[in-house]
């Protein structure tokens, strides 16, 4: 029989306001196994914890029930308290009488009655608890960063600087990500390349960092501290270790009509290409969709001109398998497709462009060498209209846009408007906005400068329609302050397209068993207190894959994720979750049902000898659980028809005792 102590917390008035805590403590005193019952204002406080420790010793308690806030809040706290007093931490159960009782009920009697039932339920469970001891597993001291944008770069650099090995997997031929495509960066207007490329070089030169460019994660197995990852190195048809990046091939390749994705298709590249001058690694890559040699075996110019003999048309995808202790997702974002926004005539007119395209038009390394020229006729535009919130904050049109605010558009639009006015004072710039959101250091000042010093016209209201007429674009929108509908003849319209997580994030999340929200952003373990960790142990989040972010925020989060990774890799051993599945070999049929549903492959089988009737021995196939791999979901326990498989800490008997206590 257990000797159970019950501790009812007031949580100030949070619980005591709607639950008669004295009455609850009194009522629970007579439950089976309970030998001590107390109440206190703040159980989680130093004094409250001392109260529990003292009671454990004084009453020789073998189990405790704390009636308090959610176990998600303080279960760990009270487990530590119990452990400090010499009690096994898994002999602690929490009755959630705050979030699931006092905070949702107004009636004192109702709240008190429910709190008693919840307390009774926890007591029923703790009566069947057994001390548990967590297993230990080693930590592979190497991290994997998936995505080589500024988020991945910063995370990798920070981890590597702490002395741990890091691999970056980037699906494109170069690292750099979106930031490499940007012209200037708000709010300081320094050039993106000037601040990014040194970091790219740092990454390339860091002895602890390996870059897998033009590669993708193929398979992830294992668990925190012990991930086994298979990386696909896509065939680039150029020997990485031989290519010098001289670029001769990219000048001689006769296939000139390959849309240049780095410039968002606004100009062309060759079938063999280096994305941009400062690419890291600076290695050519052949686009197999366009290369004549690969398509029909005719050409071979690049191989002929390559003095280093780096071209290899027979190259195949290669697979690399590596072990990691931690994985960082830094998969970034993309602007959403404008195809469904017919009202802005994006697909009808070349002169309706997205902000990222505008970014390339302004960039000295872009398709126009930094001259602001209309894509349709190469003429300098004199009237530009920017439209904000295109697809953002779009709750009713889920198939078109996104419900959330994309966060960065207000600032980059202010930047674009300002830069345009700065470079081309003869150009009139109008911005249509719903709200201008500038919550960042020096952000509002920046936006106000655009409006006040650079004379950008900010119009509160949305553009409803853009119609091409001749070589003009008629922009029809509303001016809510003047209470008027406006028709503006523009030369260029720039859409601040909403951003969305990269498409590769969803399948990656599935591989990582990391959860995502409905928008395919990775979910953080706690929105406030654990914002850079995924709920899945060992998976960390960096940058816009977790939610829209600008560069300073991305870099801070990247550093924070790195700090968490370093904290993990610095450990030699990890203590596991002791609430894992356990197979009773005497009852196991060896039927493999459990193995089939186990998402981690934690169950294996062994032939074991058992005593049969009449002094015979029988050999039976039985399931065995690898406690280091098992994550304790309990799926196997239900798949098991005989009930041989049970889950420690959430045993069949315990849950049924809870059911009974609730229904009593």
């Amino acid at each position: 029989m257990q000797r159970i102590g019950v501790f009812v917390c007031w949580c100030g008035s949070n619980i005591a306001g709607t639950v008669d805590v004295v009455k609850v403590a009194e009522a629970l005193k007579s439950e089976p196994g309970v030998v001590h019952s107390a109440n206190y204002q703040y159980m989680c406080s130093q004094a409250g914890q001392q109260l529990i420790k003292d009671a454990i010793k004084e009453h020789n308690l073998t189990g405790i029930v704390v009636c308090s806030c959610s176990p998600r809040m303080h279960e760990a706290t009270f487990r530590k308290t119990a452990a400090a007093a010499g009690l096994n931490p898994y002999m602690v159960e929490i009755a959630n009488i705050r979030e699931q009782c006092s905070w949702i009920h107004k009636d004192m009697q109702e709240g008190t009655e429910k709190a008693i039932v919840l307390g009774r339920t926890a007591i029923a469970k703790v009566n069947l608890n057994a001390p548990l001891k967590p297993g230990e597993s080693p930590v592979t001291k190497r991290a994997l960063v998936i995505g080589g944008g500024i988020a991945g770069i910063q995370t990798a650099l920070d981890i590597a600087d702490a002395g741990f090995e890091v691999d970056i997997v980037e699906k494109k031929p170069t690292i750099g990500g979106k930031m490499a495509q940007l012209d200037k960066t708000f709010p300081t207007l320094d050039c993106a390349a000037c601040i990014l490329t040194p970091k790219m070089v740092d990454v390339a030169q860091h002895e602890k960092i390996r870059i897998f460019s033009y590669s993708e994660v193929e398979e992830v197995k294992g668990f925190v501290g012990n991930f086994d990852v298979k990386i696909r190195k896509k065939a680039r048809y150029v020997k990485e270790d031989v290519c010098t990046g001289c670029g001769l091939c990219t000048e001689k390749c006769p296939m000139k009509k390959v849309p240049n994705d780095f410039n968002l298709g606004m100009d062309n590249k060759r079938a063999i290409y280096i994305p941009f001058a400062q690419a890291v690694p600076k290695i050519a890559t052949i686009d197999a969709d366009y290369c004549n040699m690969l398509k029909n075996g005719k050409c071979g110019v690049c191989a002929k001109v390559c003095t280093a003999k780096a071209i290899d048309y027979t190259q195949k995808d290669e697979f690399v398998e590596e072990k990691y202790g931690a994985i960082v997702a830094a998969t970034g974002f993309n602007p959403i497709s404008m195809d469904k926004f017919d009202e802005f005539a994006y697909s009808q007119s070349k002169d309706v462009i997205t902000s990222l395209e505008f970014e390339r038009l302004m960039n000295a390394a872009g398709p126009t060498a930094g001259k602001l020229l209309r894509p349709s006729d190469g003429v300098h535009p004199h009237k530009i209209v920017f439209v904000q919130c295109v697809g953002s904050r779009c709750a009713s049109c889920a198939e078109k846009g996104k419900e959330y605010c994309s966060k960065i558009c207000c600032m980059y639009t202010a930047k674009h408007a300002m830069l345009t006015r700065d470079k081309y004072p003869d150009t009139d710039v109008t911005v249509f906005y719903i709200d201008v959101r500038t919550p960042g250091k020096q952000f509002d000042e920046f936006y106000r400068r655009a409006a006040e010093e650079y004379g950008v016209h900010y119009i509160k209201g949305m553009v409803g329609k853009v119609s091409p007429e001749g070589n003009k674009l008629i922009v029809q929108g509303s001016d809510l302050i003047a209470n008027k509908q406006l028709k503006i003849e523009a030369d260029l319209v720039v859409l601040a397209a909403a951003i969305e997580p990269d498409k590769s994030a969803r399948p990656l999340a599935t591989m990582l068993t990391a959860s995502m929200d409905t928008n395919d952003f990775f979910t953080e373990a706690h929105p406030k207190l654990r914002p850079v960790e995924s709920p899945t142990a060992g998976i960390f989040l960096s940058g816009a894959c977790q939610g829209p972010k600008d560069i300073p925020e991305t870099v801070s989060q990247a550093g924070a994720a790195a700090a968490k990774v370093i904290g993990l890799l610095a450990k030699d051993k990890l203590t596991g979750n002791p609430c894992v599945a356990q197979s009773d070999e005497l009852m196991c049929n060896g039927c493999s049902s459990c193995e089939k549903v186990c998402p981690y492959g934690a169950i294996t089988y062994a032939d074991k000898e058992f005593r049969g009737p009449n002094r015979t021995t029988l050999i039976r196939r039985v399931a065995q659980v690898n406690e280091a791999i098992c994550q304790g979901c309990g799926c196997c326990t239900v798949a098991c028809p005989s009930g041989a498989m049970d889950l420690k800490g959430f045993a069949n008997k315990q849950i049924m005792a809870e059911v009974d206590a609730i229904c009593k």
């Binding site: 005497l586 009852m587 049929n589 049902s593 028809p641 005989s642 009930g643």
Partner: protein, 329 residues
């Protein structure tokens, strides 16, 4: 089609025993009455010639006995399997319940077995013997002399709705192999589904209230092969030898059906052995019908190694709410 008789099987057994292919034969021997047969293991041909029986009452599914029998001693066990038995045989292999190498399967064609309970329902309990050599059975009764009844009328439920004449596992066959048959086995389930909830409730209350918890259905079921049944296991939380309250018995039948769902081959043994004639197969068939309807056709035991529907999923599976509302159109 070659008529499978006792003599044919004894001759086959003699051949296999004498050439050393098998060391024992799992078969049936006569009980108190000719129609009342009980499983037996024969290690020599003499005892077989003496006690072995095989006739239209030899419907028992032997697969389950192989679990224990194959673990005893060396050598192979000979077993004669009807087409429906081979599905159970495969399902057990899928679940690694015995070693295929220790069994020699002789597949035997089957044109349906007779259910003695149906004869008793027709003529009362005092059945002395039944001559089933032709399609018209001659039934010798204690009180009314010899009666005749067509075999088709007293076929076991599962044979009336035979799902397959095809053997899915065998080492050799006697007689010709047949085909998978499209049967009407879900008709009764359909009828029940079409009823109102109240009518269904009344139907099942009438049926299940007769249960005496003798566990015969569980003991005979080739899918119920647990080392220890949850209902016998004190740690399961549902252990009960005798029901503590009436509820536990519904729980027994629901849980039993659930535990075999996706694994049940619809062999019909549960209904065959039920002394209270509860149509237990209608529970299993409901699960089979739902599985087919929700997740695509699936026949347990069709192939060794198939993944049962309940240890499988697709991302597009229907929601439980859709499952229960499927009938409400």
């Amino acid at each position: 089609m070659q008529k499978i008789t006792r003599e044919v099987l004894i001759a086959k057994a003699e051949e296999l025993l004498s050439n050393g292919t098998v060391s024992k034969v799992l078969g049936l021997k006569k009980g108190e009455f000719s129609y009342d047969q009980t499983p037996a293991v024969f290690t020599d041909i003499e005892s077989m010639k003496k006690d072995f029986v095989f006739d239209d009452f030899s419907g028992a599914n032997f697969s389950k006995y192989l679990i224990k029998e194959t673990k005893k001693g060396e050598g192979k066990t000979l077993v004669f399997l009807k087409p429906c038995d081979t599905y159970s045989f495969n399902q057990l292999l899928t679940e690694h319940r015995f070693d295929r190498e220790k069994v020699y399967v002789v597949g035997i064609a089957c044109d349906g077995m007779v259910d003695i309970k149906k004869i008793k329902n027709a003529f009362g309990d005092g059945i002395v013997s039944v001559d089933a050599t032709t399609d018209t059975l001659k039934v010798e009764t204690l009180y009314d002399g010899v009666k005749e009844i067509a075999k088709a009328e007293v076929l076991a439920e599962r044979c009336r709705n035979c799902k397959s004449k095809k053997h899915v596992a065998y080492d050799e066959l006697i007689g010709e192999d047949g085909e998978v048959i499209s049967s009407n086995r879900f008709d009764q389930v359909d009828e029940l589904e079409k009823m109102t909830a109240d009518e269904r409730f009344a139907f099942w209350q009438n049926e299940l209230s007769r249960c005496i918890r003798c566990n015969a259905c569980r003991d005979v079921c080739p899918a119920c092969t647990c080392e220890k049944c949850v209902f016998d296991n004190p740690n399961s939380g549902v252990q009960n030898k005798a029901a503590a309250n009436s509820f536990e018995e519904q729980m027994f039948h629901i849980i039993r059906a659930f535990h075999v769902a996706g694994r049940c081959t619809d062999c019909g043994e549960c209904s065959r052995v039920c002394p209270q004639q509860i149509p237990l197969h209608l529970l299993n068939r409901k699960f089979i019908k739902d599985i087919n309807g929700f997740y695509g056709d699936y026949q347990a035991g069709e192939e060794v190694g198939n993944r049962a529907p309940l240890v499988n999923y697709t991302k597009e599976d229907l929601e439980p709410s859709e499952a229960v509302n499927k009938g409400d159109k």
